[in-house]
């Protein structure tokens, strides 16, 4: 069979990941390869010209090699058809798809190319050997994804370590009020799962812990976990609140996104699992003064379960599989000055509003504007939410795509903002029937089951949806003024509102980068974990026995996250069931893959 190899780059991912020159050289020596051409980046291919070329050099199979060769396939297919060849003989050697974007890129690219020339799908040839798998599993991250994955595996009667960075599991979902599109409260879905995890005999819940180091190989990873000093005895604490009552320190509460303050010894939120207090060493007077000052909480604790001198300790565990579910952070709205976040008190981020409108939030779910008051301790004015004094907004503007779909910030779409913004609009119209609600959007991305219907309903409820991006928010005689273009009506809109909600996009956590480096995992340009195969293996990675689930792989809504988290469990349980799991694809050598591919063609 006479084969023509064409190198075409679509310009996706890191251009220096592979050495095209050496690849071209390699291709030339592959059996059957007659023509090797490097057409460079985004070549404009004229099928007619190409067809003649194919005819003249009697090529029967074409292999397009590049970061995303599919972009050029139709042209080649047509050319081959014009030349009277079999159009199914156009094969793709997709470097990006099969992980030639990182590490030993060039060798991987060569192996992908080799498979393509032989007409063997790469994943069929690049199958690592199996190794014995340790039955225990480590789940990193205690959000809904981590919880779901842990439960799936735990319920199967397998041992799971669930490691969570903060003092409680629950993650972002625990902060939400309602969930779209059914509007049932997030707590009602999540808290039972949290309780189940807390009580599960197969799940070893390790909150306030971090993964320090991972060594070993697929099937048996040795993991060093840092138990950060909680300074409260988990088993003894009865969550009586006496310690927090006397603690003099006040810092912004992470759980409430800083719209209220917590003490240095605190319970993240009343329904926390484990339902145990934690001392925040960074703000605790005693810890900061090396035991010279304060320490009153320890004295006050009726069960004497506070040990302020406790230090971090490292525990080592061995596991067969590791599931990464470290989730996301929201985009820092400060980076977009024109929306005045931080400078204007009543410009809120989505998560702040989630807490504000949440029944268990600081205002008991009452939507009010911030009120100015003098802080005696800080000796300064500050803006706070006050359920009684704060007046409820007459008009609220919701700004979509804050930091998303923007070349100057995040180029990608954060997938959930449209829907949660619509949800906000509903909550506003429900709680403040005579308040006006304006949504500034670019595309209303309501794509899931029941989403479109939800969007229609919100419009029917009287929310003004404005197709157009908000340009700026500024203050004029004490009110926020929002400016944008209403594109469908073709008019510039600029009017005052009482509150502006920024639908901030999602970004990978700082931890993602650290873990990726530690485990040698690839991340995409935006910092999300790269899956092994976009379509066929959305939860596996190049490393055997290491999986990604939920947001850390890319923005997702709750149903998709839950489905993915369960999906991860399938891979894990499978390997435990047969006691063997796949090795890392990353470790496969070029010759291994060549050999297997060749054997497949013979068979």
């Amino acid at each position: 069979m006479r084969i023509g190899v064409y190198l075409c780059q679509a310009g996706i991912g890191d251009p220096d990941a592979v050495d095209l020159h050496s690849i071209a050289g390699y291709a030339a020596n592959l059996p059957g390869v007659e023509v090797v051409k490097d057409l460079g980046k985004l070549p404009r291919i004229d099928p007619k010209v190409l067809a003649d070329e194919i005819k003249s050099s009697k090529i029967e199979r074409i292999v397009i090699a590049g970061d995303s060769p599919g972009f050029f396939k139709p042209g080649f297919t047509r050319a081959l058809a014009l030349a009277g060849g079999d159009p199914t003989e156009v094969k793709l050697a997709s470097f990006r798809e099969y992980g030639a974007s990182t590490g030993a890129g060039t060798d991987r690219a060569k192996s992908v190319l080799a498979c393509a020339t032989l007409g063997v799908p790469f994943p069929l040839a690049a199958v690592p050997d199996t190794t014995a798998v340790h039955p225990d599993t480590l789940v990193v991250g205690g959000g809904v994804a981590g919880i779901q994955a842990a439960l799936e595996i735990g319920d199967a009667g397998k041992k799971v370590y669930l490691v969570e960075r903060t003092g409680t599991i629950g993650g972002h979902m625990a902060q939400f009020d309602k969930t779209f599109p059914t509007l049932d409260c997030a707590a009602c879905i999540l808290t039972p799962k949290m309780v189940a995890v807390g009580q599960h005999e197969m799940i070893d819940l390790m909150t306030y812990c971090e993964v320090d180091d991972v060594s070993g190989s697929p099937g048996s990873y040795k993991v060093k976990i840092r138990k950060k000093a909680r300074r409260v005895d988990e088993d003894a604490c009865v969550a009586c609140h006496d310690c927090a009552a006397v603690c003099p320190v006040r810092v912004p509460s992470e759980f409430d996104n800083g719209i209220v303050e917590r003490k240095a010894v605190y319970m993240p939120f009343p329904q926390a699992v484990p339902n145990v207090y934690v001392v925040d060493g960074d703000s605790c007077t005693y810890v900061q003064s090396d035991g010279k000052k304060c320490g009153v909480c320890a004295k006050k604790c009726p069960k004497e379960c506070i040990d302020l001198d406790q230090t971090d300790e490292i525990v080592e565990i061995e596991v067969g599989n590791i599931i990464l579910a470290v989730g996301y952070e929201v985009y820092d709205a400060h980076k977009i000055e024109r929306y005045g976040y931080g400078a204007l008190p009543n410009v809120l981020t989505a998560l702040e509003f989630e807490r504000l409108t949440n029944a268990s939030g600081p205002t008991g779910g009452k939507i009010v504007c911030k009120t100015k008051r003098f802080n005696k301790r800080k000796k300064a004015d500050e803006w706070v939410f006050d359920a009684d004094e704060g007046e409820s907004p007459k008009s609220i503007a919701i700004v979509h795509c804050v930091g998303s779909r923007d070349a100057n910030h995040n180029p990608y779409c954060s997938r959930v903002c449209c829907m949660y913004s619509l949800k906000f609009a509903h909550l506003v119209t429900e709680k403040l029937p005579d308040a006006d609600c304006y949504e500034f959007y670019i595309d209303m991305r309501a794509f899931g089951k029941g989403y479109e219907e939800f969007a229609d309903r919100i419009k029917a409820e009287g929310t003004f949806v404005i197709r157009g991006r908000t340009a700026k928010v500024h203050e004029a005689d004490g009110r926020l003024v929002i400016r944008g273009e209403e594109i469908v009506e073709e008019e510039l809109v600029e009017f005052p509102v009482d509150m502006v909600l920024l639908s901030v996009g999602l970004v990978p956590t700082a931890d993602s980068a650290r873990l990726a480096a530690m485990l040698g995992l690839a991340t995409d340009g935006d910092g999300w974990f790269s899956e092994l195969d976009y379509n066929a293996a959305p939860t596996e990675t190049e490393r055997g026995g290491i999986y990604v689930a939920g947001l850390c792989q890319g923005p997702k809504d709750i149903p998709d996250t839950v489905a993915q988290a369960s999906a991860v469990a399938a891979g894990v349980l499978k390997s435990i069931a047969i006691g063997r799991g796949l090795d890392s694809r990353a470790d496969l050598s070029l010759s291994d893959i060549e050999a297997r591919a060749a054997s497949l063609t013979r068979a």
Partner: protein, 396 residues
């Protein structure tokens, strides 16, 4: 009746510099960011839309491009890097070529080769003409602004020369040239009126509307007040300075030429103006040139070939102008004369091409654009009911 979209136009506009317009996904950020835009002329987005869809008639009739001064804010904040500011710039070029009935503008905008050769051609013609004159009759050693290179005898082949008493020959040349330019520019302006107002069948523009807004023409021409409403002020200042220097110089040459050449004594009443203007031209054109080279600001990021040629011509004209003046002052007449020829060689193509067919036509189109815009605004306000703007409830 539906308008026919033309997917090809966007490719055509690439030649005028609009490379990124296709990236726009119409979030409206640009229009909302722009301090100059208003609900009854929303730009740049609407024009970008018309351009993407190739609605030529809409584009032709739009004066929006002349209302934009390209401060660059829209481009800076565009989430898709669609460069709205540059698109408006390209549209100005395209409109210029549309207003021009001779097709010259279209030619020189679409190919820099054509433009360059046109310039060179005109320069050479001018050069030859004056040199010939000079060698034939005049005296290269004698610098006399009045009759430099021009016949100064009693009669020329028996024809009595009416300008023999004084040396108005060069003046006559100026005026002839001016007349030609005014003719071309004028006719183009009329076409501009036709596209943007004349052929509009939906609205009826009353004479009164035209009359009561006429003051806008000189006002905007001399103050460029609108430019000052951009958030960034420096570009306005520079532009105004350049424009005023240029106009001053133009007036001096057109009206007070004889006062400029009468030597050996210097009439400082005019020279004071002359030198300031020359200085102004020199500084500003150097500033802009540097800007374009180093890409100091957003509106200098992209430079069409025509921008470069214009700047270079302007610089050459300015320098040679100054040069011939000083050479003359220091008595080296030969050098002064040569400098003067070079000067004219640059002046003719600069004025001849730039004013009616290229960049400098905007000195007429901008004020006109604003004028037409206000006329339209008034008429719309009179004829169409005002729609309650969204969010009016809040403002109340």
């Amino acid at each position: 009746m539906a308008i026919r979209a033309n997917p090809k136009l966007i490719y055509e506009l690439e030649k005028y510099g609009a490379d990124d317009v296709s990236k726009c996904y119409h979030c409206g950020n640009c229009s909302a960011t722009c301090p100059l835009t208003s609900s009854d002329s929303i730009f740049p987005r609407r024009d970008m839309r018309n351009l993407q869809m190739g609605l030529e008639s809409n584009l032709e009739s739009s004066v929006d491009p002349w209302l934009c001064y390209y401060c660059g804010q829209c481009s800076d904040e565009c989430p898709r890097d669609a460069e709205p500011g540059e698109t408006m710039m390209s549209l100005r070029r395209w409109l210029t070529s549309r207003y021009d009935w001779t097709g010259i503008s279209r030619l020189i905008y679409r190919s820099w080769k054509a433009e360059l050769s046109a310039i060179v051609f005109l320069a050479i013609i001018t050069g030859i003409f004056f040199l010939a004159m000079g060698f034939w009759k005049g005296d290269i050693h004698d610098y006399d602004g009045a009759n430099a290179f021009l016949q100064s005898g009693e009669s020329w082949y028996g024809i009595p020369v009416f300008w023999r008493m004084s040396g108005w020959g060069i003046h006559l040349f100026d005026w002839l040239l001016a007349a030609v330019l005014v003719f071309f520019l004028g006719t183009n302006c009329i076409r501009m009126w036709w596209f943007s107002m004349g052929r509009d069948r939906d609205l009826h523009f009353s004479l009164w509307a035209y009359v009561k807004n006429i003051w806008l023409l000189p006002f905007h021409f001399f103050t460029q007040k609108r430019y000052a409403t951009c958030e960034r002020k420096t570009p306005w200042a520079i532009h105004l300075w350049l424009m005023l220097s240029y106009v001053t110089m133009l007036i001096l040459i057109m009206v007070f030429l004889e006062l400029m050449w009468s030597g050996p004594g210097v009439d400082w009443r005019v020279h004071a103006f002359g030198l300031t203007a020359a200085g102004g031209l020199l500084i500003t054109s150097l500033y802009v040139l540097r800007g374009r080279v180093v890409k100091t600001e957003t509106h200098y990021k992209y430079s069409h070939e025509s921008d470069w040629m214009f700047l270079i011509l302007l610089l050459v004209v300015t320098c040679t102008g100054i040069l011939q003046f000083f050479l003359h002052r220091f008595g080296s007449d030969v050098a002064a004369n040569i400098a003067y020829v070079v000067h004219l060689m640059a002046v003719v193509p600069m004025l001849g091409l730039e004013v009616p067919f290229s960049k400098w036509s905007h000195l007429a189109y901008r004020p006109l654009g604003m004028y037409f815009h206000h006329v339209r605004e008034d008429t719309v306000a009179a004829e169409q009911p005002v729609r309650e703007p969204l969010g009016a409830a809040q403002a109340a």
